[in-house]
């Protein structure tokens, strides 16, 4: 940027400004059109939309050889805006009569050298009146519809026109200078464009010996309170000048202090090129200020700390929830503890071979006869809402059935309550609720039953595996016992047979042969059986397999898994949202930086131009 040639005149500055404004406008529009997570206020959006329009308009105007200054007359119905314009024009170009509202169509008063195509589109549809007065060559004067009549469309039209204005001349009369509607619009617009003031019907303001303030003093006081300490203020009797132009002089003399000529002088000479440029630059500066303010307003907050806090407090809640849910799920398993024990036992005993295996299968069958019998006996009382278990073990089906019972009973309600609890907690931490509401509710609506079923199934399988294929020292104990149990019973059997046979053959005839035949057959079997029972006891003592022991394992694992599932779904939400907002915040900051950059550039050039003025150019 420093490579730009310094110019002594303001005009090139303004013209090089145009592309910058266009670029800025595009950025703002791009930002407006983009999707945003952070809710933006409609009012702010409308403001930004308007400011983008302003930028575009300003850029368009600056492209011209010399920018046109748009002066608008604003005021209540009947204050004499049209008369004022007629007086300025020296003839009836705007309709003025008591039969108002007369200015439905705004009148644009412009120099004949200016092509109407160059006007802002809003102005092109107005009533156009051209003139050939050179001092007003680069100024257009617009007579606008009233602000306060029963024709509300007029007010809308005015509000449409106002953004085009560089200078607004607020016209008041003795009656209306204080009216609320005009005052409101003035207050809204004063931060955006230049204002001049005309107190028309000055002749009616001069009462003798009255108590109150004179209207001009009163109004100047008001303006002072609004920050206009030395406003451009003119007292006029427009009708007098219209009559004079028409060759009628009905009202005779002008009251003292009438300033119509000064107004004309200001419009023609006072607003010279330098001032026009300054006003344009000021207008652009004001747009920048507004833009920056609006952007600041809409910038999302930085929620990094808050999201971290929220996460911490959520994790605690999720822990509790996982614990409680594990309880509930396990509770639904409770009625099936014998089935589970049975299943585990079968799985555990699968590693035994031969005699031991046969023995254990038989014992297990007897011990858990109930679990396989139950479902074949239709007349047995069953708990209501019982899970249909098949005699063949199907973990998948079993867990799904369990979780659906648990879900219907408690978990669905719990999950709903959880999302509410989380939101309330987030609010306590200062997290804006509207940002969390949707993702949290969505997270609570996903198929939690399926997740619970999955978790339960995984846990069942995992625990089962742990029991049937243990690790660590238990693995060694297990291995030793397995080898013992697989190898020793047949050995014992053969050994005892051998021993018995040995005894029989060693001592022939010493005993009863018939008796010893029975002994030969039964004693080894009995010994083996006793051995098997002892082994079984050993297994039961060393590797106990009771529901109570499995249950603890289940609970621990289930809680862990549920906690995991809940955490991955919920706990990351605040952080994700905060990150997304931070991203959006950066976008806004980038935009603000861009505005500042152009503003800084403008200020630099402006100073250069002013210095040029100082040096007599």
């Amino acid at each position: 940027m420093s490579t730009e040639t310094m110019t002594s005149h303001a005009e090139p500055v303004l013209r090089t400004l145009a592309p910058l404004l266009t670029r800025l406008e595009r950025s703002v529009r791009h930002w407006l059109d983009a999707k945003h997570l952070y809710p933006r206020k409609i009012v702010t959006l409308a403001t930004l939309e308007g400011l983008a329009d302003d930028l575009k308009r300003q850029a368009e105007q600056l492209k011209a050889e010399q920018p046109l200054l748009c002066i608008m007359l604003m005021g209540g119905t009947g204050v004499g805006k049209s008369s004022l314009l007629n007086a300025l024009a020296g003839g009836a170009i705007a309709k003025a009569s008591f039969a108002r509202p007369t200015t439905m169509d705004p009148v644009v008063y412009y120099h004949e050298s200016v092509k109407p195509e160059k006007f802002d589109p809003v102005l092109r549809t107005c009533h156009l009146a051209s003139h050939d007065r050179m001092p007003l060559q680069h100024k257009i004067i617009v007579d606008t519809p009233d602000v306060d009549s029963t024709h509300l469309k007029n007010r809308d039209k005015l509000l449409q026109l106002l953004p085009v204005a560089d200078v607004v001349i607020y016209v008041g009369s003795s009656e209306k200078y204080h009216d609320s509607i005009g005052h409101e619009i003035f207050k809204q617009q004063r931060k955006r464009r230049a204002f001049g003031f005309v107190l028309n019907k000055w002749d009616r303001c001069l009462h003798n010996n009255t108590q109150g303030l004179r209207p001009d003093e009163d109004w100047l006081n008001d303006l002072k309170n609004e920050g206009f300490t030395q406003p451009r203020f003119f007292r006029t009797v427009a009708q007098h000048w219209v009559d004079k132009a028409n060759g009628v002089s009905e009202n005779g003399e002008l009251p003292p202090g009438e300033q119509f000529l000064e107004l004309t002088e200001w419009l023609e000479q006072g607003l010279n090129r330098l001032e026009i440029d300054a006003i344009k630059v000021r207008g652009i500066n004001l747009t920048f200020e507004q833009l920056e303010r609006a952007l600041h307003e809409t910038a999302p907050p930085d929620l990094t700390d808050i999201s971290a806090r929220t996460r911490t407090s959520w994790e605690k809640l999720l822990d509790d929830e996982a614990h409680a849910s594990a309880d509930v799920l396990l509770n639904t398993l409770e009625p099936y503890q014998r089935e589970i024990e049975h299943h585990f036992t079968v799985e555990c005993y699968r590693r035994f071979r031969g005699l031991m295996s046969g023995y254990l299968t038989l014992i297990t069958k007897i011990k858990y006869a109930g679990t396989s019998l139950r479902d074949h006996l239709p007349f047995l009382p069953r708990p209501s809402a019982a899970v249909e278990t098949k005699s063949t073990w199907d973990v998948n089906q079993f867990t799904r059935a369990c979780t659906s019972v648990a879900g219907e009973r408690q978990l669905d309600a719990r999950t709903r309550a959880l999302s509410h609890r989380l939101l309330v907690e987030a609010d306590k931490n200062g997290f804006p609720l509207e940002l969390l509401n949707e993702p949290t509710e969505n997270a609570s609506k996903i198929d939690w039953r399926q997740r619970y079923a999955d978790a339960l199934m995984e846990v069942l399988q995992h625990v089962e595996q742990q029991w049937s294929k243990p690790t660590g020292p238990r693995r060694w104990i297990n291995g030793v016992i397995t080898i013992m149990a697989n190898v020793m019973p047949p050995l014992v059997l053969f050994a005892s047979y051998g021993l018995v046979l040995w005894n029989v053959f060693q001592l022939p005839g010493s005993g009863n042969m018939e008796l010893s035949l029975q002994t030969v057959l039964l004693v080894p079997l009995a010994i083996t059986l006793i051995f098997l029972v002892m082994l079984h006891l050993l297994i039961a003592v060393v590797l106990p397999l009771r529901w109570n022991r499995i249950r603890g394992e289940f609970h621990r694992e289930l809680e862990e898994r549920l906690n995991n599932a809940l955490s991955t779904t919920f706990a990351s939400i605040p952080k994700d949202r905060a990150d997304a907002l931070l991203e959006e915040r950066r976008d806004v900051e980038k935009l603000v930086a861009e505005v500042r950059e152009v503003a800084a550039w403008l200020e630099q050039r402006q100073q250069a131009a002013n210095i040029g003025v100082l040096y007599g150019n």
Binding site: A99, E334, Q410, R416
Partner: protein, 601 residues
């Protein structure tokens, strides 16, 4: 009907409507409705109230209203026949109503409590720019023409309604408009189609005030055309019609300095005539004022109350949220506690019931014999039960289930309140209640109370039902003996049947115990069914009991929470409940009073 009741009624109505107006002013975009409410309150306390109180019709009130600097003081001076009101160039100089009356005319102000609402009469003369809720009375010396008017009338000069400061004093203006019998609306050539004064005119016409429109400041030559234009442009769009329109063209300050002479006098007499006609005879004029005011109030009562529609909708949405929370609370109690609760007491009852069916006295021998015979059955049954009975899941205790449910309910409501706190003040109020823990703490207290009552009811309920299973039987020997007899007969029949069918042989050793067991099983099964049914009923009754003692009172308490504790919504509820009925009653009183006075309507 007497004065006391009418005074109380008027007092309450005007207070309620004024409260609604204040409530309305606190909200955005309801300035117009606030104005209507103020006018309604003023009509009640300033026009109808004094009439029901039996106040004399004189003085009648003529009120001059209009936009800033539109020429109100000029019109007042014309009516008073003297330069009574100072003409001010400063727009919006007058800030409180000023009443003008005859120099020696004693005016008896209605000594009615609440007359002119908050406006206080100034005893010392003060400039009319005093911006306070006051009014003042000034005496004027007038000529004969005005003197005859001032015999019956007082003239009110009012502040404007157009300047940006007017928002603060429009209520004073409306207060006087409620009082007025004849209204003079002033519009200058500049103001005649201004939005705000026109809106004002429309409201007063709706309220049934007789209006004279005076158009001012036009050139004398334009007067006729201007009147025509005003009628077409403004009046034609009004609901009622102004009684009269007249033009008062532009006069110089010198001309206005003496309103009884010169060009001015001609317009003045015209105006005086129009006002006098409307006020003659005074009792009729006053009766008309009162009649029209009452009509307006009754016809527009719904519209007047419509400002509270948003509040009611918000309260409605709160009710819906509370209801949703309540059904969830009930469902959770049912699912998490009741569905799995076993009511152990009933198992005991079953045992007692079966024992009761055994024979007493001599029959004991038979019973014992059969008991011995059934030994194998008992053993098998014991084994089967031990092996086949499923373990029952551990039920959660009741209190934690209820407490969790309550917590969920409150969380849900709090979440809703947080989400909607921007939508309406009711929700913001509720959110605040949650924020300072007032609402949840009170809810928990309420819950504790309800829970205690529930427990008391419950202890009786379960115990009574369970005990009644066997006590009923004990108290009814006929039934008991019949049942015992039937059981004995069943046993005898089954054993006898076996013996008869197969004769006495070795198989009887197996068959007789079997037959005795089968009959016993049948009896036990029937008993269990009966107890089960009782258990189910108890479950239902317990649910009903919980609803009665906990869910319903809590729900009702929560529903009414925003409108209790001296909150705005309590007052709103009261006002909305009372106003329509009171308006009707007031209307009837007016009708009665008018009929009694014999003035034709």
């Amino acid at each position: 009907m007497n004065e006391t009741t009418s005074r109380a009624l008027v007092g309450q109505l005007s207070e309620d409507i004024s409260w609604l107006e204040q409530h309305c002013r606190q909200q955005k975009e309801t300035a117009l409705q606030a104005g209507q409410l103020r006018l309604a309150a003023a009509l009640v306390r300033n026009a109808i109230g004094p009439y029901l109180d039996g106040q004399a019709p004189i003085p009648l009130h003529v009120t001059v209203v209009g936009g800033a600097s539109s020429g109100k003081s000029t019109v007042v001076n014309l009516l008073a026949g003297a330069v009574a009101a100072e003409a001010n160039a400063q727009a919006g100089f007058t800030r409180h109503p000023v009443c003008y009356t005859n120099a020696n005319g004693a005016i008896s102000w209605p000594a009615h409590l609440g007359f002119l609402g908050p406006l206080i009469r100034l005893n010392e003369p003060a400039p009319s720019s005093l911006d306070q809720d006051v009014y003042q009375v000034r005496r004027v010396t007038s000529d004969t023409a005005s003197a005859s008017l001032l015999e019956n009338f007082v003239i009110w000069d009012c502040p404007d309604m157009t300047t940006w400061a007017a928002a603060g004093y429009i209520p004073r203006l409306l207060e006087i408009c409620g009082l007025t019998d004849v209204l003079v609306y002033v519009a200058s050539d500049e103001r005649y189609n201004d939005a705000i004064p026109t809106q004002f005119l429309q409201m007063l016409l709706e309220a049934g005030k007789p209006v004279i429109c005076t158009l001012t400041k036009m050139r004398a030559a334009d007067a006729e055309a201007f009147l025509e234009h005003f009628r077409a442009e403004v009046l034609s769009k009004m609901p009622g019609s102004a009684l009269n329109c007249m033009a008062i063209p532009f006069f110089t300050a010198q001309e206005l300095a003496n309103p009884t002479t010169g060009r001015v006098a001609e317009f003045r007499i015209k105006l005086l005539n129009q006002v006098s006609v409307l006020g003659y005879p005074p009792p009729v004029a006053r009766a008309r004022t009162v009649r029209l005011a009452a009509n307006y109030l009754v016809l527009h009562s719904e519209q007047l109350l419509s400002v509270a529609r948003d509040d009611l909708n918000a309260l409605e949405s709160w009710n819906a949220a509370v209801e949703a929370g309540r059904s969830e609370f009930e469902a959770r109690y049912r699912q998490e506690y009741l569905a799995t609760e076993k009511f152990r007491r009933f198992d005991e009852a079953l045992i007692r019931l079966i024992e009761l069916l055994e024979l007493p006295g001599v029959g004991k021998v038979v019973s014992n014999t059969l008991w011995v015979v059934r030994t194998p059955f008992r053993l098998v049954k014991g084994w089967v039960q031990q092996n086949l009975q499923r373990q029952e899941s551990v039920n959660q205790p009741e209190l934690p289930v209820l407490e969790t449910g309550l917590k969920g309910w409150l969380d849900f409501l709090r979440k809703e309140a947080l989400q909607r706190s921007d939508s309406h003040a009711v929700w913001a109020h509720i959110e605040k209640g949650f924020d300072n823990n007032q609402l949840p703490n009170q809810a928990k207290e309420k819950f504790q109370l309800g829970y205690r009552a529930f427990q008391l009811g419950l202890a009786n309920e379960v115990e009574r039902t369970a005990r009644s299973i066997y006590e009923e039987l004990e108290k009814n020997p006929v039934l008991l003996n019949t049942l015992r007899g039937s059981k004995l007969a069943l046993d005898a029949a089954s054993i006898g049947g076996v013996v008869l069918a197969g004769g006495l042989n070795i198989w009887d050793v197996v068959l007789i115990p079997l037959a005795a067991s089968v009959s016993q099983y049948l009896v036990e099964y029937l008993g269990a069914q009966y107890v089960e049914q009782q258990r189910e009923e108890t479950r239902n009754r317990q649910e009903a009991l919980m609803k009665e003692h906990l869910a319903q009172p809590l729900g009702e308490w929560l529903t009414s929470w925003p409108s209790t504790g001296g909150s705005t919504y309590e007052r709103l509820h009261q006002a909305l409940k009372r106003i329509p009925g009171n308006l009707q009653e007031l209307n009837e009183m007016v009708t009665g009073a008018l009929a009694r006075s014999g003035v034709a309507n």
